[in-house]
């Protein structure tokens, strides 16, 4: 494992997985009520090696391997959060949160409200998500929109190592349940990560790249594909503004609407299935606002195909937006006469 910098030695390059691990270690050192729960997060180190060696540092009482019991495990985390612990519950794959919907949707999300504000459920669910690993239909889904539909939950989706660390620490400080979606293709991605404790606020988008011609809103792995497409387009003089929403619920309305007012064109990209997805919400938000008056072209959404994620690698690639498709969509929007 990487050495965790204990001193202010400036930013280091860490992988996304290492950045999450560093955040968990910092939180556990600072707060004895923080515990980790999940399947094979102990000696195995987690299916994606995110918890790694934390079992050696914090022991099995704080890095708890659960049986393969997602509903029960998530519910135990909710109960513990309700009564004074701060559990970070790792789903081995976010697909398996479907087995725990009861506790997430009926209990965690609603307890504060149902009890008239008298209860608090400060639990964090970690959600490895997305396709691209050949794991097929039941291990590759992007279900973040399902959870973003539920009042009482917060849904975040960091796309860089620095954001992953800062947003996880923000989620831990948050008194409400937070689901952090982690795209599996990001785990090995490396980037600068500040040392020590810091938070990246939940509900604040990042303008990754500024541009005057068109806005792309894209999170998780799609942010990186959008930036790649933007760089290609810049060579042809098309200046793309790329916005990473980072947080889906709450959504940073002001940053997105401000950008659309400036560029007058919008493409929304996500991996989750297109219909009834995050893009639908963002498009409707624009259509319902005064930013609508600034649009020079219809909004375009790119999303996952209306199908489960297939196993065959070519089909799998075809099932979700790729850089070429984003580039083509931008060109098509730009080609529309004003």
């Amino acid at each position: 494992m990487n050495a965790v910098a204990e001193v202010d030695a400036g930013s280091r390059v860490l992988s996304y997985a290492e950045a999450i691990r560093e955040a968990m270690a910092l939180a556990m050192e600072a707060d004895p009520t923080v515990i980790l729960m999940g399947e094979d997060i102990g000696v195995y180190g987690g299916a994606f090696q995110v918890t790694g060696d934390l079992i050696d540092r914090f022991g099995p009482d704080r890095v708890m391997d659960t049986p393969i019991s997602e509903l029960g495990g998530a519910g135990v985390a909710v109960g513990a959060a309700l009564t004074g612990l701060k559990p970070i519950f790792e789903f081995q794959f976010s697909d398996f949160a479907t087995l725990a919907m009861e506790q997430i949707v009926n209990q965690a999300a609603k307890l504060r409200y149902m009890l008239g504000g008298e209860a608090s459920v400060p639990v964090v669910f970690r959600m490895p998500a997305g396709s691209g690993t050949g794991a097929a239909a039941q291990h590759s889904q992007s279900l973040e929109a399902w959870f973003a539909h539920v009042p009482g939950l917060k849904v975040i989706q960091p796309s860089t190592p620095a954001d992953a660390k800062g947003m996880l620490l923000a989620a831990l400080a948050d008194p409400d349940p937070v689901l952090m979606f982690e795209h599996k293709l990001l785990y090995k991605m490396r980037g600068e990560v500040p040392p020590g404790h810091y938070t990246v606020p939940i509900g604040k988008a990042e303008v990754v790249r500024t541009g005057r011609d068109i806005t792309i809103v894209a999170g998780a792995i799609m942010r990186h594909r959008a930036v790649e497409a933007a760089e290609r387009l810049a060579a042809d003089g098309i200046e793309v503004e790329v916005i990473d929403p980072r947080s889906l619920r709450p959504l940073d309305r002001d940053t997105i609407l401000g950008s659309v007012r400036k560029t007058g064109r919008l493409v929304v990209v996500h991996e989750g299935v297109k219909s009834f997805g995050v893009g639908a919400e963002i498009s409707a938000m624009v259509a319902e606002s005064d930013a609508f008056d600034f649009l020079d072209a219809p909004i375009v959404r790119l999303g996952g195909a209306e199908a489960p994620i297939p196993y065959n690698p070519d089909l799998e690639r075809a099932a979700v937006p790729q850089t070429d498709g984003i580039e083509a969509a931008v060109r098509a929007v730009m080609a529309r006469a004003v």
Partner: protein, 341 residues
Amino acid sequence: MSQMSPDITPAADNRPHAIRAYAPEVLRDALRKMHLIRRFEEGAEDSYMRGLIHGTMHLSIGQEASAVASCLDLGPSDKITSTHRGHGHCIAKGADVGRMFAEFFGKETGYCRGRGGSMHIADIATGNLGANGIVGGGLPIAVGAALTAKRLGRPDVTVCFFGDGANNEGAFHEALNMAAIWRLPVVFVCENNQYGMSTSVARSTAVPRISDRAAAYSMPGVTVDGNDFSAVAEAVGTAVARARAGEGPSLVENLTYRWRGHSKSDRNRYRTKDEIEGWMARDPIARFERELIAHGILTEAEAEGIAAQAVAEVEAGIAFAKDSPAPDVTDVTRYVYAGAA
């Protein structure tokens, strides 16, 4: 559907159950399937290393007796539900290894037309309702299949394979209870290979034997040496006969071991080399083969012939898969619904 050999002499006969109860050709075919599973798994592993197969896979090397003996009394219209570690079950139920490899290679000729891969391998025609990417996902489905048989008055039995890890899912408990209250023709076969990924049964499960859980659902529960072909055949055979006679479900626990890691990314940090080697010394195939030779069912030369035939079948299967066409990417939304593409 067990084929009784005509010349059994029950009183003085202390040969193993399987030797007594099944015709020599049935036993030889069972050995053939066990070899085929082993070679298939090795072929799949090798193809994965060469980059011909992507994603991940869960190999069942070491568990062949459990798969084959549990399917011994099943006919083509009987059903099984399988797991992520399901290649052996698929072959035991009668699948063609060429079409299995084609699936793993993502080809249109594969059992799932390249859409499912290893974790979703199925063969509806031979009654294999499918592997499952969801631990415990097959348990209620097996109960549903048994409900169909009962409602429609069919004699079919469903054998439901699942791992030790799955016994802690709520679905396990809900499924066993419903199977019991409705007296459905289903046999729950737990392949206890000692670990669910890295978590041992002792660390995950409150009872010492998973078969102890049968008592909570008022059904017979038995634990057997899952590497002993005859012991599995006897226990599951008894349960299948009971189910077919309308007497309801049973739980059989086969104690076994997976020689390989959980999946392609396992570093085996939770078990010792000694433990793994100890279990490899209890190879279920070598044991069954020795037994058949000792009881005059098979000669050494015939045993070698069966092993060689498995190698050839796997090679031919891989060649078929390599030569098969890939799906057309424009078909990505095909098969989501019945009817049009």
